[in-house]
């Protein structure tokens, strides 16, 4: 792999940029791999990357039905934070956030991590108590957050109306090292690093069946033929139930559409990420100047990657009291992704009833921020059979009643 550097840019500038190699190869699949990962989104590629980097397992294929990073990895609002309430969540999300801090250097790929700070607004007294509790929990977990006053919120976000009659701002949970990153670059960076380690990234290759023998996984049937493997990782977000069905088990999960939108680009006006969970809206400003806005999920099962327009309307309506200036903005575009929502709204990183098959799913509405931590933990789970980060996220927790009661703490917005 040719390293990207200022010298490489200078060298290429001298020769009309003719010497840049392809960032990753597009090989034809081999007959057999040690590990096959289904899904070349952020989580799948990160899993493959840490299998190679941390465990030296590089005979790996990452199979993707569409194109690399074309699912939820390219359809989110790129928010990164780790201010969760429960210990298992804080552990994996903070691991993830800390990996984002050094990701660009680690991958030699600029993922534009921008730790600009994330505020979660407290707009009801219930939320004030809830976020104060989270701030205390975070202090014990070693996650740096603080509960800040309305005046401090106003200072951080001058465009905000903190005296709204219906939802006044009563404070906020502030994570100074939360922020955003360039979502596509995260997938591209991991793909390039995986390809460099000799892994095969196989795009436009749909898995049509999971092959098992005596309760043990032996490979997958795909649109490009049969690919055998010793271990199989399913990292397919909204399609996890479909993959599980091929392998003969069910997941405690439903797939629904989550939408987001951006406004027309405007001058810089807000340099932090703001989440307003009471009204179900969150907003940040992209480097291009667009206001990036997200809200809650649609209510019904859906695989179409598009949602109902009235949810967009509700999200924007909810934010207008707090951000009066956005009422004059035009919407530039809107999109939807299919998110996999579990019974307790927390992810599943687990062994499955099929020996040798693992699932990493259920990240629901908050997967982007978790990409490196999820990949790190999933790689450890697949290599060693267990990982301290995934113990609590087993699919068996629903039978045992050991839920990770995070949906209230996280609200709907992620």
């Amino acid at each position: 792999m040719k390293r990207y550097s200022v010298f490489a840019i200078a060298r290429e500038a001298m020769r009309q940029h003719a010497g840049w190699p392809r960032a990753w190869a597009s090989p034809t699949p081999k007959a057999k791999y040690d590990v096959v990962i289904v899904g070349a989104g952020g989580h799948g590629l990160a899993t493959a990357y840490y299998l190679g980097k941390n465990f030296g397992i590089t005979n790996v294929a990452v199979i993707e039905k569409g194109w690399l990073g074309g699912g939820n990895t390219g359809r989110n609002t790129t928010i990164i934070r780790s201010n969760y309430l429960q210990d298992p969540s804080a552990a994996i999300y903070e691991k993830s956030r800390s990996l984002y801090e050094t990701m660009s250097q680690d991958l030699n790929y600029n993922v534009m991590f921008s730790p600009r700070g994330v505020i979660m607004l407290a707009q009801t007294h219930h939320e004030v108590r809830g976020y104060q509790r989270t701030a205390h929990a975070n202090a014990l977990q070693g996650v740096k957050t603080e509960f800040i006053s309305p005046a401090r919120v106003k200072q951080l976000v001058p465009i905000m109306n903190i005296d709204g009659p219906r939802y006044p701002v009563l404070g906020g949970l502030w994570q100074a090292r939360g922020g955003t990153a360039r979502h596509d670059a995260v997938a591209w960076g991991y793909a390039r690093a995986c390809s460099d380690m000799g892994m095969d990234i196989i795009q436009q290759c749909e898995v049509t069946n999971v092959l098992t023998d005596g309760g043990k996984v032996t490979g997958v049937e795909t649109s490009k033929g049969k690919i055998l493997c010793d271990k199989l990782g399913g990292v397919v977000a909204g399609h996890s139930s479909a993959l599980a069905e091929m392998a003969g088990f069910q997941l405690p999960m439903e797939s629904v559409a989550l939408q987001a939108l951006v406004s027309e680009p405007i001058k810089p006006c807000m340099d932090v990420v703001v989440m307003a969970n009471t009204v179900h809206g969150y907003m940040s400003q992209s480097d291009k100047g667009e206001m990036v806005i997200g809200g809650g999920t649609d209510g019904y099962n859906n695989y179409t990657q598009r949602g109902s327009f009235h949810h967009i309307e509700e999200t924007v309506r909810a934010l207008i009291e707090t951000f009066p200036m956005i009422s004059r903005l035009k919407m530039l575009r809107q999109w939807g992704g299919i998110v996999d929502v579990t019974g307790d709204r927390s992810p599943i990183l687990t062994k499955t009833p099929v020996e040798g098959m693992f699932m990493n799913c259920g990240w629901g509405t908050g997967g982007f921020k978790a990409i490196p931590g999820s990949g790190w933990a999933m790689a450890e789970l697949m290599a060693n059979g267990h990982s301290p980060l995934t113990e609590e996220f087993s699919m068996n927790r629903f039978r045992a009643g050991k839920f990770i009661d995070e949906s209230v703490a996280a609200g709907v917005a992620h």
């Binding site: 069910q250 405690p252 797939s255 695989y303 179409t304």
Partner: protein, 109 residues
């Protein structure tokens, strides 16, 4: 905008008038049930890519719960029917079989 016919009011109701209630025809478990059965009832879901039977409530109308058969891949609505039943009506299942040969959904297909 998703539009479903409320089988009680017999009117076309917009999605904004309705509330989605998740998978239909779950077998309710109760005192004495096994943990596995409770897990199935409370958490395990078909979540099919295709034909889905689901509960809806006409919240801004008659307030009644009803069932709908819908395709999660195309959002096509095959039909709606009363909630006072344990399985989708036969004519609806036949209609779905015509449109989606080989569909599967528990024992109903």
């Amino acid at each position: 905008m998703l539009t479903l016919e409320c089988p009680y009011c017999s009117i076309q109701a917009d999605e904004t008038e309705l509330h989605a209630g998740g998978e239909a025809h779950l077998k309710r478990e109760t005192v004495g049930s096994l943990d596995n059965d409770f897990e199935d009832y409370l958490f395990m879901r078909e979540n099919p890519k295709g034909v889905h039977f689901e509960r809806w409530r006409h919240v801004a109308g008659c307030g009644k719960w009803f069932h709908a058969a819908r395709c999660t891949m195309t959002l096509e609505v095959f039909g709606t029917y009363s909630a006072q039943t344990l399985a989708p009506p036969k004519d609806l299942r036949e209609k779905i079989s015509t449109k989606r040969p080989g569909w599967t959904w528990r024992a109903f297909s």
